[in-house]
Every structure is written in structure tokens, then in C-alpha cells.
Amino acid sequence: MKQAINLNVNGDTYELLVAPNLTLLEVLREKIGLMGTKRGCDLGACGACTVLVDGEAYLSCIMLAVDAVGKNITTIEGLSHEGELHPLQRSFIDNGGLQCGFCTPGMILTAKAVLDEDPSPTEESLKKKLAGNLCRCTGYKKVLDSVMDVAGQSSKEG
């Protein structure tokens, strides 16, 4: 009953044979070997498995891989280009926006989706939009600082 599908991940196409009940998270980690997408709860409650699907933030642990066919999937591994870190990645490093790093890939990808939609969010609106990404280490302050720093830059440029 497995299905042959093509998945477009970080600009590459993967031909895969998958059971229809496999989640996108399972396929990314176990079939493709992209381990940057994290499994924290398997229930869509922690945000660690966040990926971008056609630019929007999705929880890959509650999305079936077969539903991602024909869409552009970006994982954390696809965020930096030719060794250049994305400004959000740079900012999380410089502002100490991470500790254990387990929530970080999901946090950064959610932040990217947020900033792509609204390049200069207020801190209050950012808090709401990041509320689906749990972090047990940082207390969120430096996470928000990291994102607001980039938001400030892009609004300055704009």
C-alpha cells in the first residue's frame, strides 16, 4: 500500500516510497536524513518540528508526507545559502537566543514565516505568533530579542 511520491525539500527532489500514514517529520528524518527537524512531542504541541511549506510554518509531526507532494518544503538545513547563515540564524547566535538548541530550528523557521508576512512586527504580536514554539531553557526573552533585531534591520533597510 506504499505510495511512490516526489517531495521537494530545500530545492532538491526526493523520490520516495512511503506508507500513507507516515508524517512529513518521519520522512524528513528517517527517509531523507534531514535531522535538523526535531521531534519533541509528536502531537503538534511544541513546535520543534516546524518546517516551511510554500513559505508558511507547518508542524511536520501532524502533516502527512503525502500531503506535502507538489509543495516546496524548507527545513532548517535549507535556510542558509552557500554557507552564508540567514540573518535570523546569525541573530540567534549573537543575541544568545538559544540554549540547548532543540527548539531552535523550529523557532527560527516560525520566525522566518512571521517576518516574511510582517517584516516589522511589534513585540506583542511576535509573542503571539511564537507562542506555538515552546522553549524550556531561554525564558523566550533572548529569542524575541533575536527576532526583533532582524525585524529592526529589515525595517531599517526597507
Binding site: 535531522m35 538545513e77 540554549q99 532543540f102 525564558g139 533572548k142
Partner: protein, 766 residues
């Protein structure tokens, strides 16, 4: 003025921050080995039951299943984190003692096959009466969780300091209250996992595990699986948070090793979120009764405690937990006379363990709350009461603590100022208030077996330094902090240091990450190693420069006579000349460090200095109550903090901020709810810890002291700050609505009920 240090005290990103933002940091579940099998565990559905029979025959026949084990198959050797309190087996042997206890383990070629195999296993149980509250469990005739433990008391401590009980005769006022702190799950984002691989020719085991203490894990695997320690290599990959939950060995570690040896193939175990709630550890629910005797002038004269910790089904850290809970009632306040009676009690519930603060948040909640109640009753400002009773450096201590530096009273003043105490306390409109709490924490517990750290530092031909440390970085940045210490001592930059850490096959012995001891213990070991390396280099360089080696300074890749950096010799030049003088490379330094032990303490038996040094802090909160929903919003939280000299202020701030959110969860939201031993909310959807939405304004104030024992004057950070946020919030709630809450968490239901009662009694102040 020239800065005292160039790398220490700098706000530097973690060494592994780059790999973390790229998703390249490798956690245990990211490890995939050729031919790897996947394990799963069948768990008890009952809180207390005898195992009559286990039929695994159908599971064994399922295609893809490579191994099935039960408690009958494993050696009769219990394990545990505290040597004298070992009471646990990887798989239940005769009976199960809590819902979720491991009964059968399976490994298969695929996780789904392993899961299917669990469904084919038939276990016959005979249910036994359970006990679910420590106060019930100690009663005569209560069901026994462990047959050999009368009254279910698995650890107890009864201590008296100063005049003890008699001192209450000299008190002017006596207050007596009982408090309760609930079960809190550590909820690290990374689920617990283990991967084991066995070499049958050499008889050697390698295990990658999400652990905080690789060397304790090695010992527990060795004693239970019967392989010498030297043939077990525990490697700690990146760990996605621990907070104490990853101190213990778990079934997944034992079973991964067992199956790896049995099948000759690598085996992975990964816990799901529900397993983490029911089968790992939680902060002990605890009843604390406090009787405090005061002098008329507001001096604390005597305290008497009765504490009952709900240990759940097994000991974990029991004796240590109840001891810490006692001794840390003697800081940050001067308590000349103290009596403590504490019990760790078995129940048929999830197992209690070390969680950020380890027995002290519960006790601190009781004391800090009662201090505020005393202050109101005696008409003294709570901040002044705290300052009046603050300990000070070098004063004699009833428990034998040696306190070389203490910024506590200053922390009260600074926190009060930053929260606007004078303008706000008792003066804000109904529904808004401010409150505070104070605390102190050890930088690691001294003088228990194995609590030492080693380090090796090596200077290579390219000027880079390799550092071997056993310290376990679990996300707090231990590797970075230790590397900063080495870089400072050797006068190189942080990027010159290559760290290899927490691999029992390569790195020196280390006590691991618990009790907030890493910076002082492992940091001092690394400092000693760097110092001995530097001595060798300086002896040579001094000859070249015709100087006294004691006058030399290494800083920013330059060696020079103190005060004359312009006449210095670049480090690379020094290395080159060292080599050309035919001296052996690499230059290596070694260090081993343990807290000074002039008065050996054995915790339960003798007093003495408890820790190498002690951090101090005050947290102050401002809250606002929503009258319609009963929700408490923490508007602002200030932390004034004496962690000695912060090695890396960026990381220290991160610890403070994380503690605040942990405290908000402890005070307002989190509670592992059980009904007859069954956890009712074992998921992130139902449990609910604070999100970005709950984040208050945060302010951190550093009160620097230069501690003589810590490396470059450092003390612990990050665990002590977890003690006082909860009482500070609950004290602020009192200021807001005039209600004394005694039991955590303060849910909206409790607030609404209290507001109703206020209305009825017309109690609220205008």
C-alpha cells in the same frame, strides 16, 4: 582602565551556537547506525500490582522482532543515583509500583514492528491496593510500596542546630503554617533517548545517551549489566535540556545495552512524551509545615520544619533531596536555631527526582511565603525583614557553612528598587501588587564520593588549544564557560579552544551536571590544567625574554612582562622557539579538582561546609489579576543576583530568564495531575508550561562578588534563581488581593474563588 580579564566576563555566544541554528547539532535521536534496531517498552497500566505471568511467545514469533526481555531475564541488581538508596530495576521483577513502570522490552527492525509486538504480549496482574499521598502512606496499615520499607519512609532526616526546639522558649511571637508545592515535570524539549552498540570481540559497549551524568550512567550500566566500567563508553551527544530529569539511568539505557549485546546490532530507544511524564522524573510534591519563632525586633530566632516529600514509587535522589531541603533553610537568612524533620515517602505515583533546585524550591516557597505573612502580622516591611535577617560573609554559621562572599542583603535592596517597592508595595490599586523572595544555592555539593572533575589541556603547534573535560553540557553552555576559563588563563581567544567533552572513553572523570557544580568544579579543574601548561611555557619564555616567569602575563595571544605588552612575544613565536629549542611538543597540562574538604561532610551524619561557595539572589515580581478570568499576569520580574564573577554574562542572563519562566510555571500553571496514580495530563497539550505569551518584562541585576574558591571568582548560576520566583509571585498576589495562598499552583479557579470570598467579607483594601 584596562579590563581585568579579556575572555572571562565577555558576552560570547556558545561555541556550539552555530551548529544549533543550522540544525546540525547532533542529539541522541539523530544518531542512526547501520543495521540499527529499535526498542519499545511495555508499561504497567496499574499503579500497584503483582506480576503473575508474562507470555511473550506471540511477540517473539512476529517477523522483525529480534529480542524480548522481562524482569525475570535481567540480573538481580538494583540501580539508583545514590549508592545507598538503589531500589530500581530496568524492568519490574515481582510487582509494579506505578502506572507506566517498565515491564517488558522489545527490539525489532522497525519501531512499528516493536510497537506491534508490545500488543501481542500478555501480562497477568493481581492488583494491589495503592497509596497516593505521602501523608496517607506513612499511616499504620497503609499499603507498602516496597515490602522492606515500613511506613513507606525510604529516607528521613532529623537535624537540630543551635539550641534546637528549646529556642522557641525565647521567642516573642510564633507562627505555624503548612504549605504545599505540587508535582512539576521538567519537560525538556528533547525526549530521552539512548543508542547502544556492542563489540563482541572486545566485549566493549558504547552508549550514546541523553544524560546529565555520563560517569554515573557508566557505573549504573556496569553494575546492572555486569560489564566492567572500563569496557563501557558513555558518550553524551548534544542534550536538549535536562533540568535534573536526565540525571538518572532509565530503562532505555539498560535495555539498549542489553539488546545490543544480545543481538550484536546497534539498538535505539526513544521515549515519547507520555513516557517522559509517567516514567522518568518529576519535582517532588511536598508538604512543608513551618513554625517560626520571632523576636519582637523582627529577628528570626528559631525555626522548626516538618517536611513530607512524595517520592513516588522509587528513590532516585531521595536522601540527597531531603538533605538539601533541610540544609538550605539555613541560607540566605540567619537562623540560629533550627530543627528539621523530613521524610521522603514512597507512593504509587511517578517518581520524584532532582529538578532545578532539588528539594529547595518547595521549602523556599514555604519560608518565603511565611516571611511575608510574618511581616504583615508584625507590621514590618517584607524587604526590611529580609535585609534584617540576611546572612553576611564570614559570619559563623550554625550548619558549618563557610560563606566567603554574600551579596544577599544588597540583592534585596537592588531588587526592591528595580521593582519600585517603595512606591508600589501596598499602594497599587486592588488587583495589582508586588512581592519578593530570596534564595541561595550551593555551587555543587562537596565531599560526596566521585564529586571531582578532571581536565587535560594541550597546546599545539598552530597555537590552538585542545581541552578535554568530562563536564556535561546539557544546553546551559558548560563547554563554552569552561573554554573561556582556559582561554583566559592561557591568554588565547575563545575560538582558539577545541573542546572534547563528556565521553567516558576519552575525557577525564567528572561528576556531571547536577547541583549547579559544573562551573566551579569542572571550571577549576580546567583552570588548574591550563595553569600547569602555562607554567611550562612561561619557564621557557622567561629565559628567552630574560624575565622572571612569575612576572609574565599571557593575554590576547601575547606573552609579556606585566605592564609592558609592547615588548611582548606573540604566542606563535613562543611556540616556535619552544619547538626549535628541541623541547617536546605538545605542551600538556592536567588538573583534578575537588572542593576543599577541611571538614568532611557526609550529609546525613555530620555538619560541615556544604559547598565550595554559595550564590545569593532576590527576585521581585509585579502582578496583575484579571477579575473576570482569574488569570494572574506577571507584569515584571526582577532578579538581583550574586553569582560571583559571571564568566559569561550572556549565558548567565539566559539562565535567569529561563528560571523566571520556570517559576511562573511553578507558581501559576504547571501541575502533573494524577488520579489513583494515573497521570491525567501527560502531554504538552494538557500540561501547559509558559509560552512566549506569558513572558513578563525581565530585568537582571548583577551583584558581583569575587569569590576566592570559584574560578576567576565565579559561583553557580541558573539553579538558585529557580527558587524564589514562585514565592515572589504568590507574595505579589497577596499584595494584589490580600489573600494568602498556601498551595501551588495558583490557578484561575483559586483566584476567582478568593475574589468571591473577598467580596463576601468585604475584605479588599481600597
Amino acid at each position: 582602565m584596562e579590563k581585568k580579564y579579556s575572555v572571562v566576563g565577555a558576552r560570547l555566544p556558545m561555541l556550539d551556537a552555530g551548529e544549533k541554528v543550522k540544525g546540525a547539532a547532533r542529539f541522541t535521536d539523530d544518531i542512526v547506525l547501520p543495521g540499527m534496531l529499535h526498542g519499545k517498552i511495555l508499561r504497567s497500566p496499574f499503579p500497584h500490582a503483582k506480576i503473575l505471568n508474562i507470555d511473550t511467545s506471540k511477540a517473539e514469533k512476529l517477523i522483525g522482532v529480534k529480542g524480548v526481555i522481562t524482569g525475570r531475564d535481567i540480573p538481580d541488581v538494583p540501580y539508583g543515583i545514590v549508592p545507598k538508596a538503589k531500589d530500581e530495576f530496568a524492568l519490574a521483577k515481582i510487582k509494579v509500583r506505578h502506572v507506566g513502570e517498565a515491564v517488558v522490552a522489545v527490539c525489532a527492525t522497525d519501531p512499528e514492528i516493536a510497537e506491534e509486538a508490545l500488543d501481542l504480549i500478555k501480562v497477568e496482574y493481581e492488583q494491589l491496593p495503592g497509596v497516593f499521598d505521602p501523608l496517607d502512606a506513612i499511616k499504620e496499615g497503609a499499603p507498602l510500596v516496597h515490602d522492606n520499607t515500613p511506613n513507606n519512609i525510604s529516607a528521613s532526616i532529623h537535624k537540630s542546630f543551635g539550641e534546637g526546639e528549646k529556642a522557641f522558649d525565647d521567642c516573642d511571637l510564633v507562627f505555624d503554617n503548612t504549605f504545599y508545592s505540587q508535582a512539576v515535570n521538567h519537560a525538556p524539549l528533547e525526549p530521552h533517548a539512548a543508542v547502544a552498540q556492542f563489540d563482541p570481540l572486545k566485549g566493549e559497549m558504547v552508549i550514546w545517551s541523553s544524560t546529565q551524568i555520563p560517569f554515573f550512567l557508566r557505573r549504573n550500566i556496569s553494575t546492572t549489566i555486569l560489564i566492567p566500567e572500563s569496557k563501557i563508553r558513555v558518550i553524551k551527544p548534544r542534550v536538549g535540556g535536562g533540568f535534573g530529569q536526565k540525571i538518572d539511568m532509565f530503562s532505555k539505557d539498560f535495555c539498549a545495552c542489553w539488546f545490543a549485546r544480545q543481538t550484536g546490532r546497534p539498538v535505539k530507544f526513544l521515549y515519547d512524551r507520555e513516557e517522559i511524564f509517567v516514567a522518568t522524573r518529576q519535582r517532588h510534591p511536598m508538604y512543608v509545615r513551618v513554625k517560626t519563632g520571632m523576636k519582637k525586633d523582627g529577628t528570626i530566632h528559631a525555626q522548626r520544619f516538618w517536611a513530607h516529600a512524595d517520592g513516588g514509587a522509587y528513590n532516585s535522589t531521595a536522601p540527597l533531596m531531603i538533605t538539601l531541603s533541610c540544609y538550605f533553610l539555613m541560607v540566605p537568612y540567619r537562623v540560629p536555631n533550627l530543627v528539621y524533620e523530613g521524610y521522603h515517602v514512597y507512593t504509587n505515583k511517578p517518581v520524584g527526582g532532582a529538578m532545578r533546585g532539588h528539594g529547595i524550591p518547595q521549602a523556599r516557597f514555604a519560608v518565603e511565603r511565611q516571611l511575608d505573612m510574618i511581616a504583615v502580622e508584625m507590621g514590618i516591611d517584607p524587604a526590611e525583614l529580609r535585609i534584617k535577617n540576611s546572612l553576611h560573609a564570614h559570619e559563623p554559621h550554625p550548619g558549618g557553612f563557610i560563606i566567603n562572599t554574600c551579596g544577599f542583603s544588597e540583592s534585596v535592596e537592588k531588587a526592591a528598587e528595580a521593582i519600585g517597592w517603595r512606591e508600589k508595595r501596598g499602594k497599587l490599586p486592588y488587583g495589582r501588587g508586588v512581592g519578593m523572595g530570596g534564595a541561595s544555592f550551593p555551587s555543587g555539593v562537596s565531599n560526596m564520593s566521585h564529586l571531582a572533575s578532571g581536565a587535560v589541556v594541550q597546546l599545539g603547534q598552530d597555537g590552538a588549544v585542545t581541552l578535554l573535560t568530562g563536564a556535561a553540557d546539557i544546553g546551559q553552555g558548560a563547554e563554552t564557560v569552561i573554554a573561556q576559563i582556559v582561554a583566559e588563563e592561557l591568554g588565547v581567544r575563545l575560538e582558539d579552544i577545541r573542546v572534547t567533552a563528556a565521553d567516558t572513553g576519552i575525557t577525564p572523570l567528572d561528576a556531571g551536571t547536577f547541583g549547579s557544580g559544573v562551573t566551579v568544579r569542572a571550571g577549576n579543574a580546567a583552570l588548574e590544567a591550563a595553569t600547569s601548561l602555562k607554567k611550562k611555557l612561561f619557564e621557557f619564555v622567561a629565559k628567552e625574554m630574560e624575565a622572571n616567569p612569575l612576572d609574565l602575563v599571557a593575554r590576547d595571544r601575547l606573552i609579556y612582562v606585566k605592564g609592558s605588552p609592547d615588548k611582548g612575544m606573540p604566542l606563535m613565536e613562543a611556540i616556535k622557539r619552544y619547538r626549535y629549542a628541541d623541547l617536546p611538543m605538545p605542551i600538556v597540562g592536567r588538573g583534578s579538582w575537588m572542593a576543599p574538604a577541611s571538614e568532611p561532610t557526609t550529609l546525613l551524619n555530620e555538619e560541615g561546609n556544604f559547598a565550595p561557595n554559595y550564590s545569593f539572589m532576590t527576585q521581585a515580581a509585579e502582578v496583575e489579576i484579571d477579575f473576570d478570568t482569574g488569570k494572574v499576569k506577571v507584569v515584571k520580574m526582577v532578579t538581583a543576583h550574586d553569582c560571583g564573577t559571571p564568566i559569561n554574562p550572556l549565558l548567565v542572563e539566559g539562565q535567569l530568564e529561563g528560571s523566571i519562566m520556570g517559576g511562573i510555571g511553578h507558581a501559576l500553571y504547571e501541575n502533573v495531575i494524577t488520579e489513583k496514580g494515573q497521570v491525567m495530563n501527560p502531554s504538552f497539550l494538557d500540561y501547559g508550561f509558559p509560552t512566549a505569551m506569558e513572558m513578563p518584562e525581565m530585568e537582571g541585576i548583577s551583584i558581583e562578588t569575587d569569590d576566592p574558591v570559584g574560578p576567576f571568582g565565579a559561583k553557580e548560576s541558573g539553579e538558585g534563581t529557580q527558587l524564589a520566583p514562585a514565592p515572589a509571585i504568590v507574595n505579589a498576589i497577596y499584595d494584589a488581593i490580600g489573600v494568602n495562598f498556601m498551595e501551588l499552583p495558583i490557578t484561575p479557579e483559586k483566584i476567582l474563588k478568593a475574589l468571591e470570598e473577598n467580596k463576601r467579607s468585604e475584605k479588599p483594601r481600597s
